[in-house]
Amino acid sequence: MRLIVGEAGFDPGFEVNEFTAKTAGAGAVVSFTGLVRGGQSSVGMMIEHYPGMTEKAIAAIMEQAKKRWNLIDCLVIHRFGKLAVGEPIMMVAVAGIHRSEAFLAADFLMDYLKSRAPFWKKEIGIDGEEWVASKEADEAALKRW
């Protein structure tokens, strides 16, 4: 398992290839990449996090996913700091023996990262900044698992 929490940009395609190359026996690799969306007035994003807790919380979520779906491996990269529109914010990659487990695990990881990893996004617009509000649907999504 590999977890990177950092300010630096990353290359999702490179990362998924590196990840796949190390997972002998996998039949299925699912990856998710979250990108900074542009809006009419949005010029970027600022992400704050809780150093220490972030790593612990994500490692626990990965451990849980790996065990529950018998994954061969999983990867999480999550950035903080200032990001421009179009840049990757984070990615997960999951390698499983079969497809269904890989899809479920990636979906699970995303649901948990969204509501249980201590990151807070602030949208930077031309007219000012605004904290992204959490959605009730995000919290509700955890009940699926």
Binding site: E48, Y50, H78, S115, A117, P118, W120, K121, W131, S134
Partner: protein, 82 residues
């Protein structure tokens, strides 16, 4: 002595990211009451507990949790990662 950390808009309202507090509060709620009594900006930050979350020693917790043995308390809004 307990380290109290603030993130996102909680940090902005209180005006600092962390502070060390000399408190004998027994629960998170007690600690919040002490902070609110201090200054208006705390009262503002803690005015709606439903929109806040708390972590004790980096584990999500509840407001009625005891503080005995806890070294680090963090207050923040619901997370928006991913």
């Amino acid at each position: 002595m307990i380290d109290v950390l603030y993130f996102a808009w909680v940090r902005e309202r209180i005006g600092l990211p962390r502070e060390t507090v000399d408190s004998s509060a027994e629960t998170v709620t007690d600690l919040i009451s002490e902070l609110i009594a201090r200054e208006e900006r705390y009262a503002l930050a803690f005015s709606d507990l439903a929109s806040l979350r708390v972590a004790l020693d980096q584990e999500l917790s509840s407001f009625d949790a005891p503080l005995k043995g806890v070294r680090e308390v963090a207050f923040f809004p619901p997370m928006t990662g991913g």
